[in-house]
Amino acid sequence: MGGLKEMIIKGGIVYDPANGIYGEEMDLFIDQGRMALQAKGEEIDARGLLVMPGGVDAHSHIAGKKVNTGRIMRPDDARQGTEPRSAVCRPSTGYTVPNCYAMGYRYARMGYTTAFEAATPILEARHTHEELEEIPIIDKGALTLFGSNWQVKECVRDKDLAKLAANVAWGLCAARGYGVKIVNPGGGEAWGFGANVKGVNDPVPNFDVTPAEIITGLAQANEMLNLPHSIHLHFNNLGKPGNYTTAIETLDLLKDIKPSRMRQVVHVAHMQFSAYGGTSWRDFESKAPVIADYFNCHNHATMDMGQLLFGSATTMTADAPLEYGNARLTHNKWSNHDIELEESSGVVPMTYFRKMLVNAVQWAIGLELALLVNDPWKVLMTTDHPNGSPFVNYPEVVTLLMSKPKRDLEMATLHEQLPKRTTLAGLERELDWTDIAIMTRAAPARVLGLADKGHLGPGADGDVSIYNLRPDEVDTSLDHALVKKALANAMYTIKGGVVVSKEGRILAAPPGRTFWVDATVPQADADRLMIDLEEKFAKYYSIQIANYAVQDAYLPHANVIRAGLSVPQEVA
């Protein structure tokens, strides 16, 4: 299949909010795999149908050691969703932790063309890239974990911002990573001693630093390096009742930092898990309105929902103490992992129940956040796959956001105490296709800093999804079942100018690209950093520094984005 064919998409109702197009009937052109102003060639009849840019998932756990640990722990999950090979596809397995091939096919079927793995320790990045390379069709990238890294904490302690920036640039290069992920900063280190950090000002054992200093230090380094993405933060105390105060406190630390690009200073991962009130699970309640209010009054932060849905999930995170708690709570199997000088992590299978009040409140919080934040550019639609639910359930989330009657139907099946613990029942707002196109396409691309994704302007990637829905005729509030069905299997998914999926059938499975960021720093800072690192590798690491970095051979379809001190600053 050549990706260089020309293509015309005729007469679709196009939603391209990044370019100010909100449901206009127009023709689209693709040439050389990119959106163009004119083209000839194959015509696709999209008359009257919903057309959007290819979906972009900015936070999903699709590759690497913890995903694979989930697979190993859950042969019961592998049995669900098995599909035999076809002329185009390799076999699929799994539901919450699908095999690599299934990840690509299932995203493509829904009209998604890009997904970013949300957490990779540098030490295990090689494994992540081996899996990313095996995920067909979609473009990918992986965020790199820095929040409990020894070298990071020493740079923060010494208030050596230049060395910290050099450390981040070196780590991204070693991991072939895309951006700075911070998970429960300091907690991974404390967990090595069976403890956790309890707030942003709680000192990290053996390092004279606090989570607050780690977060602000990495945010400043991120902006010094002019990275396309901001810091991507999983708060301290995530998943605990009463943690909304930690969320607000943390966001306040960052409000005066100036972004180096036209984007947020901090992206908050799976906000739902950090919008909790109450003092225990017994008086657990939603604090989504307080969080939403903060986002409505400030412009330095974005979030993704981390929506929870009822049924099977597999929780996986570099927040190891959280997973210890999950395992104790559910008596379920548990994987706990120590990643040398970098992180700790855990995996626990989970089932969310409708009749369990805590789960029902969690379900409501994700929706409240998306409905209460006025600006859809600040809220990305995710389920923190597979922590809240597998990504194949995105059509369910979208229809819940678009239909108040659907939410009412769902709520009627949930624990009767729910209306006392959340405001969801009183929320009348129903999102429209513009909101959805922003939250699933335009905003994730902007949040990640992917200039050629999430829109359909000339030069953008030729990634287009066409759905068997007529926006002019379908009442998304009442016909939610129809909408859900149409979103589950796009009529056409076009990736880089190639029709990869048609009505749920994969027609082509070309390899996707992997984005990573190569940031340059002054040589003097890099040299100072190397002295520290060489000592750490000699003393503590289980491998030699020469064998540490991911080689380019692991990224045969790399797409390198340059950043760093020598890159001219964007003019605002």
């Binding site: 722990m73 859950r74 042969p75 019961d76 999950d77 592998a78 049995r79 035999p84 379920n332």
Partner: protein
Amino acid sequence: MRSITITPQKAFCISVEAENISPDKFAPLTLSQIKSLVVWQGNRQKTLSELFVVEGDDAPAKAEELTIRLIGDFSQVKRIGEGMTAGVVLAEESVGMHAGNNMLGGLLSISGSADDWLAREMRGGKVLVMGNAGNYVGSGYRGEKCGMRGGEIEVRGSAGAFLGEHLCGGSIRIAGDAGDFAGAANQGGTIFIGGSTYLPGAEMSKGTITVKGEAKVLPSFQKTEIVQIDGLAFQKYAGDLVDNGKGELLVGVGSS
């Protein structure tokens, strides 16, 4: 009553996956539609009639009015009667792995022997085996926390290892011996073993395991009392105490 007879066309050296051999799958179909049901041999997709001779009544009927007779050796044919809710499957000789798994109702009767994973994760109905059964009878499949939840399994011969692992309900009766670790992680089912076994009830939290013959008992079981059942004396144990279990283990005194 509707009757369908299935006979292998030859001996299979590559095993066949035939979850479509089930009263529920056959019920709404005519004979020619049944013949074109899909089965897999290794990684090749085939139709039922490519591998088997299919004969019998043509007119569709309800599953509860349907009897499927398996004539000849089915020991290389897997997943017979998977998920069946009603009706009868009668095998004249032996059947392959995973027979009757996820079964919800009806009768699966096997005159020969059954291979591993017989009636795993069964929820209802009855499975009867005149010969022996393999390992993991009525257990949960890999990674599953719950095995059989309901129904009845009877094996007139012996069973292999891990009989009823992760049992959550229902009852299993083995006339002969059971292999190692019978009733491991039992969470509420009933097991009766007419012969002997080795280390029964490891990690059991609930349920009852009765062994008429001999059993090597784990040190994490505590002797309680001697009880009489049908005129025979049994030593009763509580356990598995490693898991703070509330299970009951009864082992025959002075038999064999």
